[in-house]
Symmetry: C2
Subunit: 94 residues, 2 copies
DNA sequence: TTAATTTGGTTTATTTTATAAACTTGTTTA
DNA sequence: TAAACAAGTTTATAAAATAAACCAAATTAA
């Protein structure tokens, strides 16, 4: 039977965020928003979920006087993504 | 920016159904239920959505005295699946 | 200098989905 | 002939995604 798909990753926006974070050291809220085209509200919620799941680390601080939310994928996130991709491949027959 | 993912296909069960139908001439309700492990109710609903979207053809009939729901992917379904897979690849960096 | 706008978000409300539970109709089987 | 089963459908509930409204601080414009 087909492997189940991690519901935390099987979400367009969360998958996009993880997909971006996989390729970079870290990315901030503004960058993720621009790259994904998401609304702030939606992005905020989804970042929170990924953080609570332990898939990303979120560091809130300031750069100069502006707030900055920095996101970084965790090892757990990398593993979950890898497993998700493997499961997905069963569905798209690759 | 990342391509949007067809919401009709970006659903675990509907994707599983299409994935199975891609590989066979046709498949009936019972077979799909067994292969996906879904409940009847869920499967029924999702088959309906795929049908209404024009991604599959559904033929309800009888074999002997037992009802049989036969599903078959349409050309539109094949195309949608192909596009979905292409879009997905952007996310999983392939 | 103070009023409006922008930036970088968060919170709350709404809509949509997925899923499960309950139900139906006809058919075997005991 | 009553109980159980098969093949679904319908309805109710739970969870998700998304948008809209909001907020605080900083910047810009009048």
């Amino acid at each position: 039977m087909l492997s189940p798909l991690d519901p935390l990753l099987h979400s367009e926006l969360r998958l996009a965020v993880i997909s971006i974070l996989i390729g970079v050291e870290s990315a901030d809220f503004v960058y993720l928003k621009e790259r994904t085209g998401a609304t702030s509200g939606n992005l905020s919620v989804q970042i929170d979920k990924l953080c609570k799941a332990g898939y990303i680390d979120v560091e809130k601080g300031f750069v100069g006087r502006k707030p900055r939310t920095l996101c970084k994928i965790t090892e757990q996130g990398r593993i979950a993504f890898k497993l998700y991709v493997e499961a997905l491949k069963e569905y798209i027959n690759m």
